[in-house]
Amino acid sequence: MATQVLMPALSPTMEEGKLAKWLIKEGDVVKSGMVIAEIETDKATMEVEAVDEGRIGAILVPAGTEKVKVNTPIATILVDGETASTAAAAMAPKPAANGHAAPPVAMPMAPAPMPMPAVHTAPATPDWAPGTEMITQTMREALRDAMAEEMRRDADVLLMGEEVAQYQGAYKVSQNLLAEFGDKRVIDTPITEQGFAGIGVGAALAGLKPIVEFMTWNFGMQAIDQIINSAAKTLYMSGGQMGCAIVFRGPNGAAARVGAQHSQCYSSWYAHVPGLKVVCPSNPADAKGLMKAAIRDPNPVLVLENEMLYGMSGEVPKSADFVLPIGKARIARAGHHVTIVSFARGMMYALDAAKTLAAEGIEAEVIDLRSLRPIDWDCIIGSIKKTNRLVTVEEAWPTCSVGSEICAQAAIQAFDYLDAPPAKVSGADVPMPYAANLERLALPTAAQVVAAAKGVCYG
């Protein structure tokens, strides 16, 4: 029986890619492990190897095809004696005895695709002047451009971390920076987070402006002592003498199917710490504006990015002077029935839910926090005073979370305005499971946000 070659998923988050090039043609004999094609994703170009030996029966997807979904058959490999036509007949779905089609064969390397919005909802209140030229780019590109622009602007800015230089970034955020800025300013480090975070802080105390990338914030936990005890506290302990202009950045929160040690949201951990600033962009424009603000800020700033959002495309102002203020939230959608407060990837659930709610006559005001420290209490409390109802949305664990603090402040600062107890939508209070079904259950959904909003609206 012929073997189908399927469009492979080349990363935990890949959903589709471009079939760039075939390196074989129909009729060629291939062996297992032979490179037969090249595939391009938004991160990289990867080689596809034959999974079996035999003769190439048919090339099903021509070279140059864009947006080929993961698991689409792209070629067939025939075993001895088969022809392309007999193979095609053998592989057609067979009617089962009861008349239903046979269940699909389990495909190798088939992760549960995670939803990925093509474009983000335009903000209700844009942060750029009307008529500003816009470009469409991914969040990954926006972050890279932000760093490149600031490195051009200030020779004291440098990037260090694991795989940031020659490998072009583990998640390709630092693509092409080595070529432009050289290895003096784009520095590959050994896998020693505590050590290089400390070296970064020392360099910042001496007046440089390092950007320290953690491959993910999970690994940044190795360096948390340097972030808190050295970076955050030294200005205070020195009576204002020792500023520390440093950016710690990397993907935060749940990725896809990587299990508990690689899926954790550190939002409340760092939002807790005086002496730090913490930003968490939810879309490409914010990613660029907040990253540039973080680099220009004279304090330690943490940029909590999100791997699941790196591929998100959106409109970004084409201006090297586009900088967003740290500490200001954005009203992503105006409304008057209920306030939904979220950040980072939680914004996807919040905005999805707002759409559903609008169809049922509930106009939600959706606030994108953008910054977790300082947090824009005026915006949050002002909105609660208008809508009298509050729902918080986050992927983090529920205990002592950012949502917890918002609910507490709503009770403290706006008790008399609340018409219902606030509701909190969070990740499940468990280490992230690996199994696809359990993982889905551990993360919030738009449906949960809708239910929570209705709960606070109708009691």
């Binding site: 050590g195 400390g198 970064g200 020392g202 105390l205 001496a206 020195s238 009576g239 500023g243």
Partner: protein
């Protein structure tokens, strides 16, 4: 088994090749392998270059200032003017004084929490240091740092750090900045025999050598990490060899002789400043007082402390040399002592009478 034997824990009879520093700046100390627990004079049997009169007198005054300052700090602690932890440097004065004489203006200094001596040796004002110990507004950190957390950008003193080991990557980061800027400054990164077992020290050694950072790792081996003797905490006790697997050269130095410290410092600073990468100086030293003021020091005998104090005291050795070589008269030394006592008393006076920080200071200096 002798203390300091680096084969401890291995099968008796198995010998290991003697450590040879990979690229020593000079051969002078290469053959010197004293036991780290031995502080016997002349353990290295090497000539120590004599000081000039100026050097001898400067070192004497600097060490005496630290000694008298620390004695006064101990008194103020006993009187309740200084709170929390207070780690005195008494006994170790030769280390920082000898090395500061080897550096130049613009070189950075960073250390852990036994930091008062380093600040004075960097030229920080004793009044500002003492007022920080008492938590007053005239302190270097406006009273918000305390004994363990003081800084002076003006004097390039980068603290004063309370987390054991955490200042080591910071010191390498200061050196990174020097290299990035292409200047010829070096960073003096001090830490103790306790910190040397922390993981991040080795992460730092690796990157410092990999990137050839101009940093001098000064291990002040005073033989006790709080109450744990080096033999009870370290599988190998010749700490100068701890950079061996990263190809960082190192040597042990008699840290109770300011001339030996300065001589090693002169050679090593020159070598590191020339772009050869990091170097480890293990200073064999001793603290006379407890780990902190609240330490009853039951982990060592009174006799051990007295013996070092009587036979090895860096200030007394300096004084004897001055007298023997007729560099100063008895009266001149008395006058120096008197001057230093006046400076220290003035600092104590200031530190007791300076007001506490304004309450508005609570919320300042959190962010720039």
């Amino acid at each position: 088994m002798s203390a300091g034997d680096t084969t401890r824990g291995f099968t008796p009879g198995v010998t290991f090749p003697e450590y040879v520093p990979p690229v020593p700046p000079s051969s002078m100390h290469a053959a010197w392998q004293p036991s780290s627990a031995s502080l016997a004079p002349g353990a290295n049997n090497m000539p120590i270059p004599a000081f000039t009169r100026d050097e001898e007198m400067t070192a004497y005054k600097e060490m005496l200032l630290i000694r008298r300052f620390e004695e006064k700090a101990g008194q103020l602690y006993g009187m309740g003017f200084i709170g929390g932890f207070c780690h005195l440097y008494i006994g170790q004065e030769a280390v920082v004084v000898g090395l500061q004489m080897a550096g130049k203006k613009g070189d950075q200094v960073i250390t852990t929490y036994r930091d008062h001596g380093h600040m004075l040796a960097c030229g920080m004002d004793p009044k500002g240091v003492m007022a920080e110990l008492t938590g007053r507004r005239g302190g270097y950190s406006r009273g918000k740092g305390g004994s363990m957390h003081m800084f002076s950008r003006d004097k390039q003193f980068f603290g004063g750090h309370g987390i054991v080991g955490a200042s080591v990557p910071l010191g390498a980061g200061l050196a990174f900045a020097n290299k990035y800027r292409g200047n010829d400054h070096v960073s003096f990164c001090y830490f103790g025999d306790g910190a040397v077992n922390q993981g991040q020290v080795y992460e730092t050694f690796n990157m410092a050598e990999l990137w050839k950072l101009p940093v001098i790792f000064v291990i002040e081996n005073n033989r006790y990490a709080m109450g744990t003797s080096i033999e009870r905490a370290s599988a190998t006790t010749n700490l100068s060899q701890r950079g061996l697997s990263f190809a960082i050269p190192g040597e042990q130095v008699d840290g109770m002789d300011v001339r030996a410290v300065n001589a090693a410092g002169d050679r090593v600073v020159k070598w590191v400043r020339a772009g050869n990468g990091p170097y480890i100086l293990e200073m064999l030293t001793y603290r006379y007082r407890g780990h902190s003021m609240s330490d009853p020091a039951k982990y060592r005998t009174r006799e051990e402390v007295d013996k070092v104090r009587e036979e090895r005291d860096p200030i007394e050795r300096s004084r004897v040399r001055i007298m023997e070589n007729r560099l100063a008269s008895e009266d001149e030394l008395k006058a120096i002592d008197k001057d230093i006592r006046e400076v220290v008393n003035a600092s104590a006076e200031f530190a007791q009478n300076d007001p506490e920080p304004d309450v508005a200071e609570l919320y300042t200096d959190v962010l720039l």
